[in-house]
């Protein structure tokens, strides 16, 4: 088993870098600033959870406030009309996949990881782990990662 050599603060920076890269490159959005996770409580949330297995195991989670999720999905898919809930969830799944994959390749570039199929998640708060919440133009996005071994 590998031991993760990053502090929680550095891991938080990695999550932010990866979220910024994914949002800016493929979803035409940007992070405007950091927010408290408590701010998410006022919103309906859509999200995805991924299991991580390999030399490090754990859980990655992304949640997005509903209007932001819809706007991000429309931009990602290049739609003028509002996408339906299934398509929005597919895009949130892919968003989680991309941020998580990007983070793991920075955390442990020489290791082979397997990500589980994304599962819908609306609870942003993992029991432990590193958590970051960001303000986007369209709403809020939070990401978290927890390594269990």
């Amino acid at each position: 088993m590998l031991e993760i050599g990053l502090s929680e603060q550095l891991l938080g920076c990695v999550l932010r870098e990866c979220a910024e890269e994914v949002l800016g490159t493929m979803l035409f959005s940007e992070i405007l600033g950091e927010r408290s996770g408590d701010d998410l409580r006022a919103h309906n949330l859509l999200g995805a959870t991924l299991s991580i297995s390999g030399p490090l195991s754990g859980i990655f989670r992304t949640v997005v406030s509903e209007p932001a999720a819809t706007a991000l999905a429309a931009d990602f898919l290049g739609l003028d009309e509002t996408p339906g809930p299934t398509r929005v969830q597919q895009v949130i799944n892919e968003l989680a996949n991309m941020i998580c994959g990007s983070a793991l390749s920075r955390i442990e570039p020489e290791a082979l990881f397997t990500l589980g199929d994304p599962e819908p998640a609306s609870d942003p708060f993992p029991p432990n782990g590193v958590f970051q919440c960001f303000e986007l133009t369209e709403g809020l996005l939070a990401v978290s990662i927890e390594f269990t071994s």
């Binding site: 890269e21 994914v22 490159t25 493929m26 999905a73 990602f76 898919l77 290049g78 398509r87 597919q90 895009v91 799944n93 892919e94 996949n97 991309m98 998580c100 994959g101 990007s102 793991l104 390749s105 442990e108 570039p109 020489e110 290791a111 082979l112 990881f113 397997t114 990500l115 199929d117």
Partner: protein
């Protein structure tokens, strides 16, 4: 020249974004075929010919790794150039997929320019 491109990804959303980016990249594509995993892709290839495969790695039932192994064992299919498009950007995964025969590797997120550049490079090499 016009190309037939097979996109293999378990995400409908990612299939769509790849199709859109390939289209706007200027590559002349006569037809896009789509499959949700390696098994579905190999089944499509039994009755269809394609010039290029763009594939994810992590997929249910049959992932990109297994699909590549089976492609390379098939004398009719082993020449088809394959570009991996994956969220997994670890050096270990890139090396593994290249050893299995992938001619190109694009990590998500990617820009349209990056996708276009890798596709052109792979097609030029494979048709040289």
């Amino acid at each position: 020249m016009s190309y037939r491109v097979l996109i293999v990804d378990d995400s409908h959303a990612m299939q769509e974004i790849i199709r859109r980016i390939v289209t706007i990249s200027g590559l002349e594509v006569s037809e896009f075929l789509k499959a949700l995993n390696g098994n579905a892709a190999l089944e499509l290839l039994e009755t269809n010919t394609v010039d290029l495969i763009l594939t994810d790695v992590n997929m249910p039932e049959c992932g990109g790794e297994e699909m590549m192994r089976r492609l390379k064992m098939n004398s009719r299919l082993r020449h088809i150039p394959v570009i991996v498009v994956s969220t997994d950007a670890t050096r270990a995964r890139v090396e593994q997929m290249k050893q299995l025969g992938a001619q190109g590797y694009i990590s998500k997120p990617f820009t349209p320019e990056k996708l276009r550049s890798v596709i052109r490079q792979v097609l030029e090499t494979s048709h040289a």
